[in-house]
Amino acid sequence: MTQSQTQNAVSLKMSGIRKRFGATIALDGVDLEVAGGEVLALVGENGAGKSTLMKTLAGVHAPDSGQMLLGDQGYLPRSPLDARHRGVAMIYQELSLAPHLSVMENILLGMEPMRGPLMRWGEIRRRTEDALRQVGRPDIRPDEIVGRLSIAEQQLVEIGRAVAVGCRVLVLDEPTSSLTQRDIALLFDLVRRLRSQGLAIIYISHFLEEVKAISDRFTVLRDGKSVGGGRTADVPADKIVSMMVGRDVKDLYPRSPRSPGPVLLELIDVTGRGGKPLSASLQLRAGEVVGIAGLVGAGRTELLQTIFGLRDVASGRIRVGTFNDRAGPSQRLAQGVGLLSEDRKTEGLALNLSIADNLTLSKMGPIVRPAQQDTESRRWIKELAVRCRSPWQPIGDLSGGNQQKIAIARLLHHDVDVLLLDEPTRGIDVGAKALIYQVIDRLAASGKAVLMVSSYLPELLGTCDRIAVMCRGVLGPARPVAETNEHRIMLEATGTHPELDVPHLRPQEQSR
């Protein structure tokens, strides 16, 4: 570390920020303040204006009115580059690294130290090593190709880039969405270290547990306005949720009387090709919801894909109702099994096709009648309160929550009996989440079987009847929810390393 950043500590103040796109008011007078050496959490539902606000800060959008102060100087960046020169750096959810270049080329991209036309590689390497040391990973080699690093390491490289340019305000947008619990803990350590170096940090997250764990203060955005905030330690999580939604969220997880019926899906020591899953046995009954918890990379998605026939079974048996054979996706659908993908963009939906096509894709006769597609789509749009102009609108135009409703509607429309749901509420707002929980509950009550993978434990505990934990490809026994809790699940998920206990997931009384 060559210089102490503490001397550069600076506070950021945004007041009365307004921004309008055509007829839509995205920001309607937002106030926000963060001091050097402080972590501010910015929370709000999707569409509340968080990303517009941060893009205004990062110089992507110019505000229509309002004032920004960086230290005691006015701050109005003309471009992201300008913002970067002033010391404001953003780490977006989608990392912006060149995967084919090395770590050091990435870290100093666009500001390479030169001697005439030649790169000063020694200097580049030295500054990269500095930056990596500052983010706590001096073991990453400067000439490693970025594409070979894990997502968590790539994220650190990106943060390292921000540090290397001497950033004073760091914005992290949903930084944990693709990290394992262990990497999250490491990231939190880094954030705390950067805070102690005097950086002003804005942390955007959907996960209130994270907000509670990492932030000093929080600000809630709703409908483009800042509607509240305070010291994080003083305000309980459900209060923050109420501020986000604008009303009390009671019964987020409804639970109708459920009566488990016959076994619809049975896994007998299933091993997938490539060892994911390594070993999975499970009985899923009609009328019950079974959750699968585990760390990212434990093989949960692969398990669902294996059941659905997207991956080959290496050994073991999968029985669906009376069907005992191996089957591909189309046969599974015919047997009444449907899969909701965790990744809407690359797998779940055909984004430039219409809502109607996406909804009816799995269930088309040889002749497709648009009028019928229209009627069917309108029914589901109404049923699930999907916000859209018409069934023929490209589904990519919709918000994440509304896209997810259509992805689920596809399974409902197909009328499958066994639903394999992979992270059904990832990246969607609280309102859409609540609706999806209701749908799951009603599905179970009506005798369907639901197998649900989620990394969000409160959701699993809230919706499931039984929860099984997957660790390194091995699926543990499914225990009734009454007999387990977040702490136990995390211990089981981290396998032989109970010391890797993640601070923000400890039972409530232990945190703060």
């Binding site: 839509t24 690359t346 096709l353 648009p370 490209p394 509304n402």
Partner: protein
Amino acid sequence: MTDTLPPEPAAATLTSAPPAREGSSGRAVEWLAKLGPLIGLVFVFALFSVLVGERFYRTDNIRIILEQTVIIAVAALGMTLIIISGGIDLSVGSAIAVVTVVVAEMLNRGYGGPLSALGGIGSGAIMGLLIGVLITRLKLAPFIITLGAWGAYRGLARGIANEQSVNVQLDIIPAWMKGFLRLGSESKWMVFPSGVYVTLILAILMALVLRYTRFGRHVFAIGSNENTARLCGVHVDRTKILLYTLAGVMTGLAGLMSFSYITQGDPNGSAGTELDIIAAVVIGGASLSGGQGTILGTLTGAVFLTTIANGCTKMGWPNWVQLIATGAIIIVAAALDRLRHRRS
């Protein structure tokens, strides 16, 4: 869930997103964008009508324009299918040459008109099938496979033809075959030669297939997102093989038309035609990244290309002007298309 979920008004009110924009202006823009290529065509046609005068817009010149469009248009119908599925076929020009040679050889060996025509179309289908099988089995990009086929099929045409043009006595070519792109004096009542009508019928069929059959919707789904298609139980490989075969049939028909026009098997003919065909599809608004494209657009694009060529000739402009104009239009069309997507 057997049928419907009981109504749950609370759920509807929970979502706090602003109400979606409803209105006719959005739809009007959409329609305008859809008709963009057609509007461009009308504009270019009007322009030449003013510049050239009556010689340009009178019926027999329009007939010439349409006759010149047929070969490109028929092949472009197949290419539309391929491009919507996210693929590309660089081998069409070579495949057309193979078809002309096959038809000529078969006629010369006395198979007669109908069988020779079927042989030509069949050879097109087989060449398409082979491409489909290679793409799905080897899991290589269509660009690579068809780049190989571009060379291989050209070689095949030369091999079959023994490196020479295959001449056919005019009297063994049946009249209906000769009439595809030539309007005989006894059939003036048809206004256009039969090839134009065949193209129209094929276009309508293809449009219906794309919109109203499961196969057609699956082609769109594969082009938009292959993983989604797989997730929804679409037989991706089977659909791809079928669509390349169907496109091969179109190539066969285009080759047959080409033969009927030049009345010989030309192993060196139609070089570079594949690019005109792709251009027609792209001008018509299809996206090379897949999931998008229309038959009406493709037809418009094909007519667009020949209209420009014809207009430039009528103006007495040298060929290089025409080449530059065509090139510029391809780029402008793609840029306009991109603009429209950014707006929405």
